[in-house]
Every structure is written in structure tokens, then in C-alpha cells.
Symmetry: C2
Subunit: 168 residues, 2 copies
């Protein structure tokens, strides 16, 4: 009766990305109501040397699709990171959701001990599937989702934790 | 070979809280270097109607200890939420770590189907243990940890994602 690797990963990513999508819709509506260019939100940052909102969404997408693909032992779809507007970023979330929904439990279940290698510009990391999921993929995913949320919160969009947690 | 409920929860909370503790130490050092009162950081917010930094730490602590206790079917230790300084908040993290380390795998393993009830001011939620963990406890925990991180990042503390992810 243990939690399977699929249950511990893909449904959580799907649930949270749907919530993130709804948060972006609220950002778009906020910009429209106040008659400012919503793409200003896409470029927003909390500090000058931080990655902007658009990159937070792209990396959240990469974290989710990369985790699902690595655990399944398949190649993740490659997205070009060209999104600069909120509607494009919403479409990016939709493409990510489509991929996540295409991954079947049987592809991921049993991946606890699968060797996963992550290369960053500075370093190479080797994990088992279970350690990769809980110490890399999940924290990384929520980091970028929450940072995107915080950027819109800081901009005055009326969102709260219920938007982030969604319907449970 | 599935991931156990303990493995999917407590080690991730412990790992991330240790990283959060180190991030608070950097905040403290930053305030000391710039000779401003570090407690200004404890009261910081990204928007006026948002909970301040100190509450983000307290709620991250509650999310972790509450999840471990609920899954184990025991009462979490009650902390009084009186912390207003960074050293007090670091001590709060330490108390939380002490509790998490005291919870044994055998207390949590097998809690996938345990009925968990969460009461919020507005609503009551009933979950199985597995759904509680992945759609409530984990997202909630990372939300407050990342928001605390973002508050310090916004204040100019020199931290990056490596501080948040820690040694893996």
C-alpha cells in the first residue's frame, strides 16, 4: 500500500500547474482591468539579478516535464523558451499538462532506484529516482511556481493561498 | 520497492528546513554587515495585506510538524508563535527539526489511507493520508519556505536556488 512513484509525482504536478494556470489568468484579468500591458508582469522580478516571471514559468514547466520524463526513462518534449507574453506562458503550461497526462503510471512506477543524472552548468548530480524526486524535482518545481505566485502577489494581483492550493 | 510515506515526507521536510535555517543565517549576516536591525527582515512583506516573514517561517514549521504528526496519528508539539526576531525564528526551525527527527518511520509508514481532517477558518477538509501529503502538506510547506526565501531575495540578501536546494 505504499505510494507509487507515479502517485508521488505526476498528479501533484498536474494539480499545481492547473492552479498556476488559473493564477496567470487572474494576472491577465488584473492587467486588463487596470489597463496596463500584461507583458509587464511577464518581465517582472523581485530583484534586478533575478530571473523574470516568464522564466519562472518555463523552469516550473521544465521541472515537471523533466521529472516525469526522467523517471519514465524517456526524453522530455523540448520547448524553445520563446514565451514572452502571459497568453504564451499559459499555452506553455497547457503543453506541459498535455505531456504529463500522456505519461502512464506504469512508465514511472518502479523508478525508485533508477539512476538519474542531472547536469547543471557547474556540476553533475547522480541520484536514485526516489532521492531525485524528493530532494530535487519536487522542491525545484514548487520553488518556481511559488516565485511566480509571489511576483504576481507583489504586483497587486488579488490571489491567495487558496488559488495556489486549488480545489482539494 | 515503492516509496514509503515516511520517505515521501519527513526527510524532505528536514532537508529543506536545514536549508531554510542557513538562509536565515545569511539574512542575519546581511543585516549585520549593513548595520540595519535584522528584525526589519522578520516583519517584511511583498504586499501590505500579506503575512510577514516571521509568519512564513511559523507556518512552514507548522506545515512540516503538522504533516508528520497527522500521518503518525499523534499530536504535534504546540508552539506559541511568539517569534519576532531572526534568532527566535532560527530557534523555531531547530525545535521543528528536533520534533521531525523524533518521528520514526514505523509511525508514518502505512498511513496512505489514514483519514486526515484539516479545519481551516472557512472549511473542513477530509483526505486520505496520501492525498493529504501530496495535495496539501507538501505544496503548503514549500509555499511558505519559498515565500520566506523570496522576501530575503527581495531585500537584497545574496541567496540563490543552491541555498534553497542545499546539498543533494
Amino acid at each position: 500500500m505504499n505510494m507509487s512513484m507515479y502517485q508521488a509525482s505526476v498528479p501533484m504536478f498536474i494539480h499545481t500547474l492547473k492552479n498556476l494556470r488559473a493564477i496567470l489568468e487572474k494576472g491577465l484579468a488584473y492587467a486588463e482591468a487596470r489597463k496596463f500591458d500584461p507583458n509587464i508582469l511577464a518581465g517582472s522580478r523581485l530583484f534586478p539579478d533575478m530571473l523574470p516571471f516568464s522564466r519562472q514559468i518555463q523552469i516550473a514547466s521544465d521541472a515537471a516535464k523533466g521529472a516525469a520524463a526522467r523517471l519514465a526513462g524517456i526524453d522530455p518534449p523540448k520547448f524553445e523558451d520563446t514565451e514572452t507574453t502571459l497568453p504564451e506562458l499559459i499555452a506553455r503550461i497547457d503543453k506541459t499538462l498535455d505531456f504529463l497526462k500522456s505519461v502512464q503510471p506504469a512508465q514511472i512506477d518502479g523508478s525508485e532506484e533508477r539512476e538519474i543524472t542531472i547536469k547543471t552548468p557547474r556540476q553533475e548530480f547522480k541520484f536514485t529516482g526516489a532521492v531525485f524526486l524528493r530532494h530535487w524535482a519536487i522542491p525545484n518545481f514548487f520553488f518556481h511556481v511559488t516565485t511566480a505566485y509571489n511576483l504576481l502577489r507583489h504586483a497587486g494581483v488579488e490571489i491567495g493561498k487558496a488559488d495556489y492550493l486549488g480545489r482539494v
